[in-house]
Symmetry: C2
């Protein structure tokens, strides 16, 4: 089985965006604030957006199951207050849940959280609980910078975040560390902010002893780990300067990288440098890079092709990246699959 | 000849740091403000710090000439106001100039600028002029985030920065885009902020048409380009989405990467993905990563070893990375060398 651990509902019906725009307008002008019941999206509409897009590409490319979360750039935790984020998260998570119910063999949900700048992370727990217990979510997306590019929350190892981690450990779910839209003009969202956040999160963990406090906490750092594998020597050397253990002992029991790296040389580096047990297959399809690479004639984000063409990842290692690591890092996914005999 | 285009005076005599600490104390307490004449560093002291450190390692490793600028993490443009930065820059640039006079065959200076958050970049011009005309500087370091991790200056393609670019073009000098210490707790200076800035700067250029306005402007993006080469497919794809030309036409006449990547796989990726004409040899020695890699038994930052061991960079390409590209990107360096018959 091929599990894509990083998919977002980027193709949701237009009505969702319209509703969100009304919600945003309602922040300044309460009269414009939409009701929850104003948003009506039928199962047929959901089916259509999935069948024509993600599911079609999954079938064309040959992946089986996607861990599916709300569109990352639309989380926009910096907009409005906690109540705005809470309502918006509930809507987005419900849609992903409905997709998972409509296509139970192909999608399983991961939740966005109702984070809001300056608001204590424990306020996210009720939505997290609902998503795990009622919607069968197998993981969460945690935004280390809910300000959207101003980076004024404490670093991930700070106790500020511990209530989330305690719940993650209780449920045995991992978090993908994923920022949202940048509202800082310096950072292009998908070309800078996403990758910077990946590198930043890794280095925050490196300088800390977070995983001594939470030996079972698991983070997936998306987009191939940002700059981390390319600079693996730098990070090994920095850990050494800081008198930390070897990275494999210090971080690699808890940190995993996805394969959202959109060219062969990048995937080759990732798989050469990072132990195979720490790599999870993913494409972030349909996401930031939707075009066809003129150098190959294939979609940039068809990451399965790079794994298939790899001379580094062969045999059993391929199976680990495609399936076994995801089942290990997402135990609730494994359990859900086993119940179905998969 | 082997030219290292990225060296900082990280080993300056202790008196420099002491003076700086007094200067910082003087911001709050004007009575503590030191005079320029309080800083006394003899030629012998300069010689000693260089001979025992950078020059020794250059000779051991086999590089000939370093483009030498003030310690990047000590620029700390976020501290104090313009006057504080101006005094500090003048001191640091003078020391690098003196080193270049003491060891004219081995060091040639590049300048830090007296940037200060919220202050117009044109205020840096007098220091830049002095460094080029009187000190023989062949390049500058430009900090895209003088706030030190708050990223509240306009992006590099903004007209805000144009006065610097106009002077750079007039003098035909390149800028290394290099941030300084992070005072944002989210960003580790050398493990996150530096690499993030590299990625950010590249993406700022990608989304703009800066090099249409300045066809002869040249930026060196250090630390192997941050996350850029590892995500080259992503950047090619993003340029395509944005209807920009191919990166080789859009950016690679103006943007160059150094080889400060501290492991073989990273250098191999860099040299495989980025055209050889856009890669300049560098080590940033003695810098962020000073240890010996237990996997190789050699210094992490002995980047020449990775080039020597490369099966990708061979023959004339090696000569380009070691020397010819630096002479092309730093024409004033080339001129200074030719005057000496080198």
């Amino acid at each position: 089985m091929i599990i894509d651990c990083h998919g977002h509902y980027t193709t949701a019906p237009k009505a969702l965006e319209t509703w969100r725009n009304q919600q945003i307008a309602g922040i300044e002008n309460p009269g414009a604030k939409p009701r929850l019941s104003d948003l009506r999206i039928s199962d047929d509409e959901l089916r259509e957006t999935i069948q024509a897009n993600q599911l079609r590409l999954m079938q064309e490319r040959g992946s089986d199951l996607t861990i599916f979360s709300p569109r990352a750039s639309f989380m926009a935790h910096h907009i409005g207050d906690f109540e705005v984020s809470a309502t918006w998260s509930a809507i987005c998570n419900e849609l992903c849940y409905r997709v998972s119910q409509l296509f139970p063999d192909h999608f399983i949900p991961a939740a966005m959280l109702p984070q809001s700048p300056g608001v204590a992370p424990k306020t996210c727990i009720p939505e997290l609980v609902k998503c795990v217990e009622q919607y069968g979510n197998v993981g969460i997306n945690l935004n280390p910078d809910p300000s959207g590019g101003h980076w004024n929350s404490p670093p991930l190892p700070d106790r500020h975040w511990y209530p989330i981690y305690e719940k993650m450990v209780e449920y045995d779910i991992p978090a993908m560390i994923h920022v949202s839209t940048s509202c800082n003009a310096c950072f292009h969202t998908t070309g800078a902010h996403y990758l910077n956040a990946d590198t930043t999160a890794f280095m925050q963990c490196l300088t800390s002893d977070l995983f001594k406090d939470f030996p079972n906490l698991r983070f997936i750092i998306p987009h191939g780990g940002g700059a981390v594998p390319y600079h693996w020597g730098r990070f090994r050397g920095l850990a050494q300067e800081l008198k930390k253990p070897l990275l494999k002992d210090h971080l690699l029991n808890n940190i995993f990288f996805d394969t959202c790296v959109y060219h062969q040389s990048g995937i080759d580096l990732l798989t050469k440098v990072i132990p195979v047990d720490n790599i999870l297959f993913a494409s972030e399809m349909i996401g930031a890079v939707r075009g066809i690479d003129p150098e190959t004639g294939h979609y940039y984000d068809d990451t399965k092709r790079y794994i298939e063409a790899s001379t580094i990842v062969v045999g059993d290692d391929r199976h680990k990246i495609y399936e076994r690591n995801a089942r290990r890092v997402f135990p609730r996914l494994d359990k859900a699959l086993k119940i179905k005999g998969r």
